[in-house]
Amino acid sequence: MNKENTIQKNSNVSKKKKRKKGEFSQAVKRLSKRKSAIIGFVIIILLILLAIFADVIYDYEEDIIKQNISERLISPCAEHPFGTDELGRDILARIIYGTRISLFIGITANLISMVIGSIFGIIAGYWGKKSDMIVMRLMDVFLAIPGLLLAIAIVAALGTSTRNLIIALSISGIPPYARVMRGAILTVRDVEYIEAARAIGARHSTIILGHILPNCMAPVIVNATLYIAAVIAATAGLSFLGLGIQAPMPEWGAMLSTGRTYIRQYSYMTLFPGVAIMITILAFNLLGDGLRDAFDPRQK
């Protein structure tokens, strides 16, 4: 009787298999139906390509930082589509090179806070009780200070450099990650398959790495895309205040800051870096929103 069963079932399953695969690919599929998310995704890919090939298009010494007083403050024209700045450097070149810096800082800071924040989140969420209380109160202390203020304080204390900027931005990103991860773990921790894993004698490490984390990644990924945008904005903000990337490196926020002096006569100097910041952040936010919807189980 069993054999008959299975034969019949097989035909059923093979059909189904073509339609559905993992939960993840289903999410990707739902994502692909959202135009705004696709736009965001395409822009991000373009930005990443620009960042990678910035070196090929431009020579850092020659095109990005070399001053050329004879060509200073040229309004957008055929040769300089975005014009030149007060030191005669091509703004388009500097913006493209700036992509590299912004994305690098955004992704690195984000990864650091993701790893550390997730570890805190796992400790709090998985073991619960006392460790939960200690970790989450610690996170609350961090959360109580506005992220940008904390970053300013850290940079001011450690001195301005790219490394310190990354450290500062990573630290303020830890508490949100810890919260998100803890929340995700709490929803998974008491599901029966975790108990089933304990029942077959799995160790804590196996349970966390094999069962809990794979089922907790969705909200973390969403948080990551949104937080990258926040880091890029914060980088620009800090640079604008003179606490971030130092001249002559082409950073969007710093460019905005210099352009401010000339805003009446040469508004393009502020316009283009501003638009660059806006588009990048918008792209990440669009993708993040799309991902959040795509992972939302209620959409199924």
Binding site: E4, Q8, K9, N12, K15, R19
Partner: protein, 361 residues
């Protein structure tokens, strides 16, 4: 009631369903039917596929009687209930054809506003999970009163008084009306839901697995209460369940649903004593026998067909132990064994339907 032999005598061949259906239709006209659903086809259209949820479903309930709708998960039981309530989400749901007459009015032709008045007043529904049917932040007497006020427009104060009476009726002291749903146990919540459903004295009550979430002793209490209420109000009821035990205790007639069609229908005696369809037989054989412990279970082999991909012949054919050549290719037609009992199965024809010996050997 006419004796079952009556229409057999002159119809030898098995091609006389048309006549019988006509006869049966006439019959229905004479009867006082609360619900008459005919040839209802409902599909769910998703991006990848079309799910054929109901494929020509027919249900009828006489006034004051209870119809049991029995079938497995995915057979279309809930879709049938939601069609009557006109609560099928669209998209993806599409009612392709058919008619649903509630008190002799075709509700498929009603506007949304008209339907809003009918729901709750003429037909109401009890869901399986009482917690999701209640609003957690409103006291229960207000929730019941809201239904009453909505349909009668008697004002909130009067409605709350009325709600208190309803609560007493379902066995909840009315002074508990100021409490919130979470303060009630599962059985009590289901009583609240029943009170809400009965608040406007509907002609038809649809109960979608009303006791599945409850314990046996509580289930017994709730079923008993529903039976009494139904009797005193003369409400017709559609009892959706998979538990044949509940059917035996609460229903007058039974429809067995498989893959969106009624495969067998009859009175309690017809279904329990003179089982015709192999699927119905399978359902009975899957139940442990309470008297004889040693009787092994004989489950139905395999699984329900994928409703997106139904077989071209009889839907039950892949799981049927009696399947013949014809079952694979042709949909079986309806055939009556007596005035109340019909089956859709190729095993039966005009010759053997009367004695129904094909499966009960």
């Amino acid at each position: 009631m006419m004796p079952l032999i009556q229409d057999k005598s002159n119809n030898e061949s098995s091609k006389d369903e048309g006549i019988k259906i006509n006869m049966e239709k006439n019959n229905n006209k004479q009867k006082d039917l609360t619900l008459e659903m005919k040839d209802l086809v409902v599909e769910y259209h998703t991006d990848e596929e079309i799910i054929h949820a109901l494929n020509g479903l027919e249900l009828f309930i006489e006034r004051g009687k209870t119809l049991g709708l029995v079938g497995e998960t995915g057979a279309g039981k809930t879709t049938a209930a939601l069609s009557i309530m006109q609560l099928i989400a669209s998209p993806p749901g599409v009612i392709k054809k058919g008619s649903i007459f509630l008190n002799k009015e075709n509700i498929l032709q009603k506007s949304k506003a008209e339907m809003g008045k009918i729901r709750g007043k003429d037909v109401s529904m009890i869901f399986q999970d009482p917690m999701t049917a209640l609003n957690p932040v409103i006291t229960i007497e207000k929730q019941i009163a809201e239904v009453i006020n909505h349909h009668s427009g008697c004002g909130e104060k009067k409605a709350i008084l009325e709600a208190g009476k309803m609560m007493e009726l379902v066995g909840i002291p009315s002074n508990r009306g100021v409490e919130y749903p979470h303060q009630f146990s599962g059985g009590m919540r289901q009583r609240v839901v029943i009170a809400m459903a009965l608040a406007c004295n509907p002609k038809l009550l649809i109960a979608d697995e009303p006791t599945t979430a409850l314990d046996v002793t509580i289930q017994a209490q709730v079923l008993e209460m529903m039976k009494n209420l139904k009797e005193s109000y003369g409400t017709s009821m559609l009892m959706i369940t998979h538990d044949l035990g509940i059917v035996a205790e609460t229903c007058d007639t039974v429809s067995i649903i498989y893959a969106g069609r009624i495969v067998e229908h009859g009175t309690l005696e017809d279904i329990f004593e003179k089982t015709l369809h192999p699927y119905t037989e399978g359902l009975f054989n899957s139940l442990p026998n309470m008297e004889k412990r040693d009787v092994p279970l004989k489950p139905i082999k395999g699984l329900m067909s994928d409703p997106a991909n139904l077989p071209s012949g009889c839907s039950f054919c892949p799981r049927c132990n009696y399947a013949k050549e014809i079952c694979n290719t042709e949909k079986p037609k309806r055939i009556y064994s007596n005035e109340t009992h019909f089956v859709e199965c190729h095993l039966y024809n005009g010759n053997n339907i009367a004695d129904g010996t094909v499966i009960n050997q």
